[in-house]
Symmetry: C2
Subunit: 643 residues, 2 copies
């Protein structure tokens, strides 16, 4: 590291090939640096780096303490306009931008992205982070297992699930005395010592200062021993990191040993677990433990919330998740650092990579450096949740937002025919059509820029260039973006040129963040009622006239407010294919009321999530999943067909 | 490394404390060497070592190629007499023995042990490998996640499970043409190219040399497309590494999207997966892929086996399991190397650590070194399967067997009162009682020694010393062991003294293995019929008069023989608490017929397993699981209550 804190880092030169080869071919053509070398280059001490093989490593949170005196770098979030079902390249832009800031402008820069779910990788062709000459490498390490964080989440989630059903079973098959005696067994001296988690339950029941359960009255013993979980209120599902549609609806407890105590429930994909959302939003291992304690798994027969702490499992979950709080270090194709850490569902959760990765990265890059993080889905969902949920819990203030647009998506918003995955693109998308482009810019792009400006954060619009785009189309997007409120607008060709194709974007970010820090503000205060918070997002961000609550949704909002969760932020579960709730409505729809079908709570993660329509939490396998094309050479260990 | 191949290794001195502290206290009192240092010391090249943090690492199978000219070391298996429910210290003896051979006799030595299942760790107090001053460290790394092998097994197992139900669903909801067109989609040129796994299915159907599915006749298309799995024959269960009794019996497919295609099935604990047995028995990544291809998940409606390869998932499983073939390196309390690799269930599978770990270790220690591996359960199960299954697939020839006995277990076999976990020991076990000891020596110990001798392998009996044992009792066991056919018999106090307490045992191993290699032989040839193989084990090893097959078992043996699996070895699923099928019968029972309730096949792993009684494949959680006592300090990250 040089005296001014600039990293002395070895960049990896690209050998650009035209036409651009497949993602996996490009990924393989580059030899990544040994991860310990990268760690040294960016100022991570050897003691703070735990390699997992030679291409990935976990970085200790000790960095935060050691560098607490260092000022944070600039904090950039990459969002996008409402995408087509094909995606518009937010991840690719994120990688192109950091490759340009690092390898070309020689700034300290970090990308922070989500870890993908492994399940869908074997159903449909797997996603990499980025594509073309803007990628995280090696792609197969990124997509498979990584350092085991999602596996730990599965283990923790399912331990809690097993604890719920086992507890209900034991409560229903044991009389009061037997249950109490088993929960608080007497030692040789006849005392019944309580464990720490049991004492916390007594405190919550208003019975503090008890060390020996013998001191409890008969009534208190029953109150303590019986959680009386109402099975109909349980919202905690089991999870698995496999696309297994037959687990969407199951009945459990059919074995003879469970004596007829059956229950209907379901499995979700692992990344939909609240444990994943907690990993993404936590700020330390201690904070994570507190969030686990607060997890509400359902209500008791009196309507009171039952928590993971009531079940006694808080610290066990923390033990299983101990290593996951450390962000996972990888690198881009050009050798700049990337944290791959946490990947909560973007529909029922907030869809952001972790706060901890961003925090560690902001210290490592230092005051003159840059951290670029990505917000899942379109800006109406991803950016809104980034600002209102993630930044609220982290306390971090964003410096700028990049809104990624493509001529293709803009044409769709301007009235072009539907874009369908798997089907060939219609000619409107292959030939110049300025009218459609203008229509998209004046509706969806305009609205997404205006939304970002509501938070006080300056906007750079990045047009992710495709080979079919014409100069006139690209010029129009740039001009329209500026007239609709973007501070800067540039065309970027990172997919075909890597960082070299993103230098203009990188320079725009440097320029826009060189002044004083913007006056960032949240869209709503937490003190607002849950209903008003939902309505605010619907009106201000989606352009709705208001919201319509179902009876069930209204009932839930009332219950959550009574239970003391009224001051949590809102995490909308809405389609990302429209600013409205209707995926067929493109552009910037108006004159609609947003229907709220139901409401759920992730109290541990710390948000209430209203359901706008049905959200699938378990993908399936098609008749011919991509695993038919997957091959591995047992000698070279090279994998084909996965990406 | 010195000129004669002896390692230049730093041993970790023990500071023995009396009375012996808790396992976790001892584990924490020792600072393990950095795993990269240990790798260097034992001759693993830096390129062959992938650290996972600083205390564990994966070792590349490239070692096998690089050291192919090196002669294998001596190969020692540790087995035991029939144990009490408390266990008699096979793992502790394994660790004590290698600590003595290494740190005290300065031999090159490796221990190879199983990875424990994580699920039970949160139900009952977790097991470490070993205990007292003979342990693998650090204990929490050993017990939690390790390098993710079990998580990979879960992912692979469940991908196959999801593929089965999805395939049955798609076959039942699509007409012949639609199904064929989806399985073999046409490309732009109208060709229907087949993937490698699809071509293999055509070869099995007797339709070779087809590259374009358009060449198939209508009949061939149906034959190719429809697996026609008979749902009643499916033996492939889903798995999870959690003690979740409510998944012992479940019904799946209850979601509306599955249109009423429900099915009853179950989850097993992850280590019960056949994928785990395959990991333990495989000899290379290529061999593993072949075993995956052969996995039989059930039969079609004509009674023919349906394989993982028919489902198209072979290489995808191999991709998920790619990293797992590399053994995991850890260390003992005294700094000698340990491989922790694979841990198949010892009841329905063969219960041995991996062949690959043993093979790599045998090359690393070299001709004058020692590899000590452990066989799960009593010798009648563990040792028999080690010889007849593991050694058969590995081609390795054992040099000696250690049979671990305790005065406690011998007294039980001699007629002592039942030993019950959790209940205080009766006075017979605390006071000197030579009559009971003699009874145990003349029955169970005698039979287990005789069994070992049937394989031509010399026996060392190790009496694992407890503080309540008297000199006369110990002396009696030693003398009786020698008179019943052991080549050597020694008392060992590794639990309280570490390697120093096992020097006599180590010296006995050195002595007994210094001559020519023993004339090892299997108990039965593979060509024998399945029924005769089962009867041979029952008569020769258990002391039964013969076997009695249920109708179901007889039917299955017939079917497996017809399907071509008659030449597989046998993996008995029998209680480990008696030489017979009745856990209450101690000593060496005679005059009994072994009932075979049912028979199953693990064709990929490569064995047939007869079920003698009910075998639980999913543990549960009690009213007060040990997680109530688990705590973690978020600052120091120290875990308590787990062990």
């Amino acid at each position: 590291m040089s005296a001014d804190g600039t990293w002395n880092i070895q960049y990896l030169p690209l050998k650009l090939v035209d036409p651009v080869p497949s993602d996996i071919a490009i990924s393989r053509s580059q030899t990544p640096k040994n991860i310990e070398q990268l760690g040294r280059e960016i100022g991570v001490l050897p003691d703070e780096l735990d390699p997992y093989g030679k291409k990935k490593a976990k970085v200790s949170l000790d960095v935060l303490k050691r560098l607490q005196h260092v000022k944070d770098g600039k904090y950039i979030v990459v969002a996008g306009i409402t995408p087509t079902p094909l995606g518009e390249g937010k991840s690719t832009t994120t990688m192109g931008l950091v490759q340009a800031l690092g390898s070309h402008l020689h700034k300290n820069v970090f990308a922070c992205v989500r870890q993908p779910s492994q399940g869908p990788t074997f159903g449909i062709k797997g996603g990499a982070a980025g594509g073309g000459y803007a990628q995280v490498i090696p792609m197969e390490e990124f997509n498979l297992h990584l350092t085991g964080d999602i596996h730990a989440i599965t283990a923790a989630n399912n331990l809690l699930a097993a604890a719920i059903d086992a507890r209900m079973f034991h409560e229903s098959t044991q009389k009061d005395d037997a249950l109490f005696n088993r929960l608080c067994p007497a030692n040789k001296q006849g005392h019944r010592p309580l464990s720490a988690v049991q004492k916390r339950r007594l405190v919550r029941l208003g019975i503090p200062d008890v060390d020996d359960a013998n001191q409890l009255t008969p009534e208190q013993r029953v109150k303590f021993s019986r959680l009386n979980i109402d099975p109909n209120t349980i919202t905690w599902n089991r999870v698995i990191d496999t696309n297994d549609r037959f687990l969407r609806g199951i009945e459990i407890g059919l074995g003879p040993s469970e004596k007829g105590h059956t229950r209907k429930t379901q499995f979700d994909i692992a990344v939909a677990s609240e444990i994943m959302a907690i990993l993404a939003l936590t700020t330390s291992l201690a904070d994570m433990r507190e969030r686990f304690a607060r997890i509400v798994i359902g209500s008791d027969t009196e309507g009171k919330p039952v928590t993971a702490d009531d079940l006694g499992v808080t610290d066990a979950l923390t033990v299983l998740m101990r290593d996951t709080v450390r962000p996972n270090l990888m690198q881009t194709l050009e050798g700049t650092p990337v944290f791959v850490h946490a990947g909560p569902f973007a529909n029922i959760a907030h869809g952001q990579s972790s706060i901890l990765a961003d925090k560690v990265a902001l210290k490592l890059v230092g005051e003159h450096g840059y951290v670029v993080t990505e917000a899942g889905f379109g800006a109406d969902i991803g950016m809104e949740k980034f600002f209102n949920i993630k930044c609220r819990y982290s306390g971090l203030k964003p410096s700028a937002v990049v809104i990624v647009a493509t001529v293709r998506a803009l044409k769709m918003h301007g009235g072009g025919p539907p874009v369908v995955a798997g089907a060939p693109l219609k000619h409107e998308y292959l030939d110049e059509n300025l009218e459609l482009v203008a229509g998209g810019c004046d509706t969806n792009l305009r609205k997404q820029i205006e939304n970002a400006n509501k938070f006080g954060v300056p906007v750079v619009v990045c047009v992710n260039k495709f080979s079919t785009d014409t100069d006139k189309e690209l010029e129009m997007v740039v001009n329209k973006a500026l007239s609709h409120g973007a501070k800067k607008a540039v065309v970027s060709s990172h997919w075909s040129e890597g960082g070299a194709g993103s230098v203009q974007l990188a320079q725009a970010i440097v320029d826009i963040t060189s002044g004083p820090h913007p006056d960032f503000k949240y869209l709503y205060p937490l003190e607002m009622s849950l209903e008003d918070k939902i309505a605010t997002i619907a009106r201000e961000i989606y352009g709705a006239d208001g919201i319509e609550l179902s009876d069930e949704a209204r009932e839930k909002l009332k219950r959550y407010t009574q239970q003391g969760f009224g001051n949590l932020p809102i995490c909308m579960a809405k389609t990302h294919l429209s600013l409205s709730h209707d995926p067929t409505k493109k552009g910037a729809p108006t004159n609609f009321t947003l229907p709220i079908r139901d409401v759920r709570a992730s109290v541990g993660a710390g948000f209430i999530y209203p359901l706008v329509g049905e959200m699938t939490t378990m993908p399936g396998l098609s008749t011919r999943p991509c695993f038919f094309d997957i091959t591995i050479d047992p000698e070279t260990e090279l994998i084909d067909g996965l990406f």
